[in-house]
């Protein structure tokens, strides 16, 4: 019988950890090329079109940034939970709950109570973070106090959230003047998230990049600051690396589990708000094409580093834009970009294993 064993490497050469993501992306593109060819299209042409669509023009890059905003917010949310070894895979549901709460405030509270637009935007942000946060805190509390596996609960709550929101979109809040489309009435223009306009001087003036980009960057900076400078962030890191030692040091573990799951959900919820108030300007079906799931891949690829999450989100935003591009121009399925996402993750995970172990046949 042949034995296949993974043996730990004596040491991991430095270049391996650098080369791994690069090689992974190249390998993913190569496998993707085979799939594109199987569709009867030229992979080179397809990749060229994807590049042009996502990065090759100012407008394309602007759209890439628009898509990157919810990815980075949800990705940061996922990452803070992962830092504490809490496998929150419910970002999608938390995002939807945030979008729902924001739409509720923007559509109804703003209409009922006179208030300045900036206050309405602030309330939408807070409502979305509260709703997403609570949606994350439920699996957190179940984990902290009853030791229920958060992977299962957070995953299942995704469906609950999505159907809950669709019930409002399709029935309760449906726009009667919507020509039969399943969506709510649009938000008042005054409470749309402002576009960054001339602030992003390198983009065409009509670009759609909105204030949500600033939320993402501020959230990343805050996460970095909290984890590396604050007592609370130190607790999170200790609990994530060695829960037993954290308990022996008297750290409040249960409380931090609930808190971190709340923050994780709050960031995903804010991603939902920024889609509602910054892009769709209403609540609608298809608001998120699975940003909350892609966020998991992004957090992992970025090795949970907040600034790397911003960069990887832009890469993945570009992939989404590129997918739409080749669907329009070449008639290829847009899901090519989802397949590429999956392939990249697959190769990066394999690369992680191979950089720490070597395979022995004997």
């Amino acid at each position: 019988m042949i034995h296949i064993r993974l043996e730990p490497r004596l040491s991991t050469p430095r270049w391996v950890s650098w080369a791994s993501p690069v090689v992974s992306i190249i390998l993913a593109l190569m496998v993707g090329a085979v799939l594109i060819a199987a569709q009867g299209a030229s992979p080179i042409e397809a990749y060229a079109a994807m590049y042009r669509g996502a990065l090759g023009s100012g407008f394309g890059f602007a759209e890439t940034l628009v898509k990157a905003i919810p990815l980075m917010l949800a990705g940061l949310g996922v990452a803070i939970a992962f830092r504490m070894q809490l496998w929150n895979i419910g970002a999608e549901g938390q995002l939807w709950m945030g979008a729902w709460a924001a739409a509720g405030v923007g559509l109804f509270l703003y209409a009922a109570i006179p208030m300045p637009p900036w206050l309405a935007i602030l309330l939408m942000m807070l409502a979305s973070m509260l709703a997403g946060g609570l949606w994350g805190a439920i699996p957190g509390a179940l984990k902290a106090y009853l030791n229920v596996n958060e992977i299962l609960t957070s995953l299942m709550l995704n469906s609950v959230a999505i159907f809950w929101v669709l019930y409002f979109v399709d029935i309760l809040w449906r726009d009667p003047g919507g020509l039969g489309f399943p969506n709510t009435a649009p938000l008042d223009k005054a409470i749309w998230l402002p576009k960054l306009g001339a602030l992003l001087f390198f983009l065409p003036p009509t670009h759609r990049v909105h204030l949500g980009l600033a939320f993402g960057i501020i959230a990343a900076a805050f996460m970095w600051y909290a984890l590396s400078k604050m007592q609370w962030g130190y607790e999170v890191r200790v609990i994530g690396l060695n829960k037993r030692a954290a308990g022996f040091a008297g750290m409040p573990i249960a409380r931090n589990i609930v808190l971190v799951m709340f923050l994780s959900g709050a960031l995903a919820g804010l991603a939902g708000m920024s889609e509602v108030a910054g892009v769709a300007h209403r609540l609608q079906r298809g608001l998120s094409p699975g940003y909350g799931f892609t966020a998991i891949i992004i957090a992992w690829l970025a090795k949970l580093n907040p600034f790397a999450i911003i960069l990887v989100s832009i890469l993945f935003g570009g992939l989404l834009v590129a997918g739409e591009q080749i669907q329009m121009t070449m008639g290829l399925p847009a899901s090519i970009s989802l397949i590429l996402q999956g392939l990249i993750l697959f190769f990066v995970l394999a690369g992680d294993v191979l950089s720490q172990y070597r395979i022995r046949f004997r």
């Binding site: 007592q231 690396l241 022996f248």
Partner: protein, 518 residues
């Protein structure tokens, strides 16, 4: 299945049965065995002596095929051997009893003995196997009930099952990895009788240990390992403890610690009728009462698994107390949280340095502030003053003599001794009223052991109350002013440190209550 090959005759005595030549085995960052040459003869007890981490277990795991060496040759009974797995080495007549037993708790002794053998299931004849086990147990004086379940057995009895398991598979060469670590003094004596009997019957025993006394009393020959290399192989009757110790450590070793008589001070810890449960929800502590005063060390002796871990955890607020009360300096702390107990001045040197006492992937500074990050000067509002933290850790690392490349070294890269010093630095620099130290020297080399014991004695002299929980009876007797013996969650009796009688403590460790005076 029982080996029927008859016992070897005198003419074949002295024949070399195990020969390892120039064996090298590397692990990430260490050469665990560095060109080791080792030979064992038929009918001898050959001790493999060395400090923790010297490479003893690794060498034997190479011999039994669990690890593949990078270099070197192995021959068994003169035949070159290259084992791919322990199965092959068992077929060649080698059996090993590991430091941690590999028994299935929910099965009987006999089921465990035959487990994994290639006998077809449908032909399995349990009553015959039981008879075979009973016969082996009688032949070798290994008292055991073949029908008992493993979970019903004491650790000493489980060890006998492991030995019978090896004999049942026809082991001529038996390797025992630190077998006495889990035994009471009496059980150790019984084991030694069995081992002498086995070599008389022609078996070869390789006996791994880091304890000099037992090596001197049981071994015919001794091979000393240090830092993965063989220092020497000597006849036990041609050497002595001091010489072996020097070979093992690499320098002359003191065997005496200075423990000046001190007048104990105020009552610091008082425990009344303490009850607590283990992780399975079964009673682990059943009404324990004792006290520890300032300027004294109270030792808790006992075989592992008799409630020691639960006691340490209960005292530190890490385990719910089901009944009873705990007082610290007269103030009740029974229901306080771990954090409040730390702040009340209790230091804890936990059982497991790696999982409980440190964060392996954090650096020295981050480990030093583990219990102090909430208090000034480390805390400044909600943030941590890392400059202060680095200053403090640099001062403590040099005061407690932690050897490390730098403050940014991750704790997991420290040796056991240096990691323990780091933990002591963190726990003791806070000037605690009470120190709960559990197995503080377990797995440490002689130098670090000396250091840790010295530090505990210094704390005693400085006025701290010390509760020393240890399975190492020598350590407890050497350091303690008073000794309590724990058995199945109860205190069996108390003895004074100097006048303690080993045999009597041994009986208490086995569950006999003793009225011991001072």
């Amino acid at each position: 299945m029982v080996s029927t090959s008859t016992l070897q005759t005198v003419s074949r005595e002295n024949e070399i049965v195990v020969s390892m030549r120039e064996v090298t085995k590397r692990f990430p960052g260490v050469v665990a065995n560095d060109r080791v040459t080792f030979e064992a003869r038929r009918g001898e007890i050959h001790a493999l002596l060395g400090e923790n981490g010297a490479g003893k277990s690794t060498l034997m795991n190479v011999l039994t095929g669990l690890y593949t060496p990078e270099e070197g040759e192995i021959a068994i009974n003169g035949q070159p051997a290259q084992f791919r797995s322990p199965k092959d080495s068992i077929a060649a007549g080698i059996g090993m009893v590991h430091q941690h037993f590999k028994l299935v708790e929910t099965q009987t002794v006999t089921e465990n003995v035959i487990l994994g053998l290639d006998a077809p299931r449908f032909r399995l004849d349990m009553s015959r196997a039981e008879a075979d086990v009973a016969k082996l147990s009688e032949q070798y004086g290994l008292k055991i009930d073949p029908k008992a379940y493993i979970w019903q057995l004491s650790v000493g009895e489980q060890q006998r099952v492991e030995i019978i398991k090896a004999l049942y598979r026809g082991a001529q060469i038996l390797i025992l990895d630190e077998p006495t670590a889990v035994l009471t003094p009496q059980e150790t004596e019984e084991l030694f009788i069995t081992l002498r009997d086995m070599v008389a019957k022609g078996h070869t025993i390789i006996f791994i240990s880091h304890k000099l006394d037992e090596v001197m009393s049981i071994a015919d020959r001794v091979t000393v390992l240090r830092g993965g290399k063989v220092v020497a192989t000597v006849n036990a009757r041609d050497t002595n403890k001091a010489e072996l110790a020097e070979m093992m450590v690499g320098r002359p070793v003191l065997f005496r610690l200075d423990r000046p008589a001190l007048e104990p001070g105020e009552m610091v810890l008082r425990v009344e009728e303490l009850h607590a449960e283990n992780d399975k929800g079964l009673p682990a502590l059943r009404g324990i009462s004792f006290y520890v005063r300032a300027r004294e060390i109270v030792g808790i002796a006992g075989v592992s698994g008799n409630g020691q871990s639960e006691l340490a955890e209960a005292l530190n607020g890490l385990r719910p107390i089901t009944r009873g009360r705990i007082f610290l300096n007269g103030r009740e702390i029974t229901t306080l949280s771990a954090r409040e107990i730390i702040d009340a001045g209790v230091a804890h040197v936990p059982e497991d340095r790696h999982t409980d006492g440190s964060v392996g992937d954090m650096n020295l500074t981050e480990n030093i502030i583990l219990k102090r990050y909430r208090h000034p000067p480390i805390a400044r509002g909600p943030v941590i003053d890392w400059n202060q933290a680095r200053e403090m850790s640099s001062e403590l690392v040099s005061r407690f003599n932690v050897q490390a490349p730098g403050l940014d070294t991750r704790a997991r890269l420290l040796s056991g001794g240096n990691l323990q010093k780091l933990i002591l630095a963190r726990e003791l620099s806070a000037e605690p009223a009470l120190i709960v130290a559990m197995h503080p020297t377990q797995g440490l080399d002689v130098g670090a052991t000396e250091y840790v014991r010295q530090v505990l004695l210094e704390q005693r002299a400085a006025g701290a109350a010390v509760l020393l929980i240890s399975e190492d009876l020598d350590e407890v007797m050497q350091l303690s002013d008073r000794i309590l013996v724990i058995y199945e969650g109860e205190i069996m009796g108390e003895a004074s440190g100097e006048k303690a009688d080993r045999a009597q403590i041994g009986l208490m460790m086995a569950g006999q209550r003793q009225e011991v005076g001072y």
